[in-house]
Structure formats: structure tokens, C-alpha cells
Symmetry: C2
Subunit: 170 residues, 2 copies
């Protein structure tokens, strides 16, 4: 148990099978909600699916726009209530520095994760880094601070976008 799991990051945009991501996410959500007796209604399921449209965090009002095409009477609370449910069950995360939401690739396990967020393509990769968590926990403990939630969001350029920016089009 040394360090850090290594889930594949979603930055390799062309390579990964995104419809598979979405399908996995929806299946996990269904089984998790069933196990918990939580009601993944069709609205909530659809909002989750919309969040998973891409790996870039999406704002509540962008979700509302998309939802409006399907549901005539969608309003802000429609979306925010679904988002709240999804957050409570760990099916999505809120990205504080963007006021936006992104799907969680490993729901169920309560976890404290970190995000690498590309300023160019917008993709946010979730990581579970034991060293980062340990460093934070140790420092907080040394301060006598009782940790409840951790927000770690790293902004920068993903590998693909570094290439594009550096060598690519002027």
C-alpha cells in the first residue's frame, strides 16, 4: 500500500471510448442507487447523462439549456435539485473553481479526490493521490484542524494541449 492509484486520465481525447464511459457511469449509478434505496428517477438519470456528455465540467445553466430541448418545463430548480441528489450520492463532483459539475468515474466509495483541469480543452481529470491526501492530512493534524472536506483543483495544460499549443497552429 505505497501510493496512489492510477486510473486512466481522460486527456487522451481521441483514444478513449467515451460512450463506454457514459454507459459505465450510468450502470454504476443504477446499481449504487438500487443498493441504497435511492431513487434514480428518469430526470436524475438524464441529468447525470448530460453531465457525462464530456469530461469537461459543465455549468448548471448549460445543463438546463440541453434539458430544455427535451423537457418544456425545465427550470433552474429542476437542474439544481437533480445535481444535489447526484452530489449527495457521489455520482458527480462540483468543481469549485469553475462553478461546474463533472461525473465521478468511481462513485460509491467515499473518497477525497483531486482534479487536473486543462484551461485549453476544459477537461478535468479526477485523481486519487494518496501522497497528496496524506500531506494535507498531516499538515491539518499538525495544526489541530479537523478536516471534513478537501478541495484540490489544479489548473494548467494537459499533455495533448501542450503539444497543440507548443508545436501546433500559430
Amino acid at each position: 500500500m505505497m501510493s496512489s492509484e492510477r486510473p486512466a486520465l481522460p486527456f487522451d481525447a481521441e483514444k478513449h471510448d467515451h460512450s463506454q464511459c457514459v454507459a459505465d457511469a450510468l450502470r454504476s449509478a443504477e446499481s449504487l442507487c438500487e443498493r441504497r434505496g435511492a431513487r434514480l428517477t428518469s430526470l436524475r438519470r438524464r441529468v447525470l447523462e448530460l453531465v457525462w456528455t464530456s469530461h469537461a465540467p459543465v455549468g448548471a445553466y448549460a445543463l438546463l439549456d440541453r434539458l430544455s430541448h427535451e423537457r418544456a418545463r425545465a427550470a433552474p430548480p429542476t437542474v439544481y435539485r437533480s445535481l444535489e441528489f447526484l452530489l449527495q450520492h457521489g455520482l458527480i463532483h462540483r468543481v469549485e473553481s469553475l462553478n461546474a459539475f463533472v461525473g465521478c468515474p468511481h462513485p460509491g466509495q467515499s473518497h477525497s479526490s483531486q482534479f487536473l483541469i486543462c484551461r485549453d480543452c476544459g477537461i478535468a481529470a479526477e485523481m486519487l493521490d494518496a501522497d497528496i491526501n496524506r500531506a494535507i492530512a498531516e499538515r491539518a493534524a499538525a495544526c489541530g484542524f479537523a478536516v471534513e472536506r478537501k478541495t484540490v483543483e489544479v489548473r494548467g495544460l494537459c499533455p495533448a494541449c501542450q503539444t497543440r499549443d507548443g508545436a501546433g497552429q500559430p
Copy 2:
């Protein structure tokens, strides 16, 4: 160069001389701006002073309220423009998870800091922890991610508020 500086945290509310904090902050700001040829106007100076009213991050509209008592024609842009200046010069930080602003106790040196934020008293303590920064840098590097900014915000209970909650009033 082992690890971590140790500035006194502001959680010991009664103990620290807050007027001294404010005075220090304003003096640092003045000398820093002078060195840089940046104009710390009376408005900007006053906004900085208002941010430093406490160690709890304060929202832009709370600042606007206070400012309105003194400046009849203060409007949102009045505050936001001053905040932008203060941010650019590292005199304050934005706390993303609160949409609020807090004074920086060691401006001038560009730094990547972390916050311990008490959910009870609201105080945000800024830390410079080399281990946390190293852990994040190492993980990002391993992912090929080029870091530009780091947001680390830890929510929980400060020592004083743990005491109050645990033993204090029911």
C-alpha cells in the same frame, strides 16, 4: 530545505493582535506597490483594509455594503475592480469554495498556498506547505500535466471551534 514554513495561524482568535495584522498588511501593500510602481489608490487601500477586517473570507457584496457607508457612489464594479487589482498584486486571495476574498499575510513572494477554512467561525488560515506542493507537483508531472495554478482549500473545524462544539453549549 526540508519542509514547510510555520506562520502563526489566525485561529487563536483572542490571542492575536488583529490591528497589528491589518497595520502590517497595509504597510506591506504600500511598500510592495511602491516598489512595483503600482498605484495603491485610496479606494484600493480601503478595500484591502476592509478585506482585512477579519481572517474570515468576505464576499464582494459584503465589501460593497461596508464601502457604501463611506462612498455614496460605490457600485459592484467599484469593488470588483479593486479586488482585481489586489489579486493581481497578490495582496489578497480568492477562496474558490466560498466565492470570497481574504488578505494574504505574505504578499510579494509569489506562492502557492493552501487554506484551512473553519466552517464554524469562518476563519481561513493560509499555509505554505512544501510537502503538499511537492505531492501535487509530482503527481501532475507524472501525468504530463503543466501546472499553472493550484487551489487547495480544506474545510473543517479549527481547534477553538472543536472545543466549543464538543464541550461547549448543547
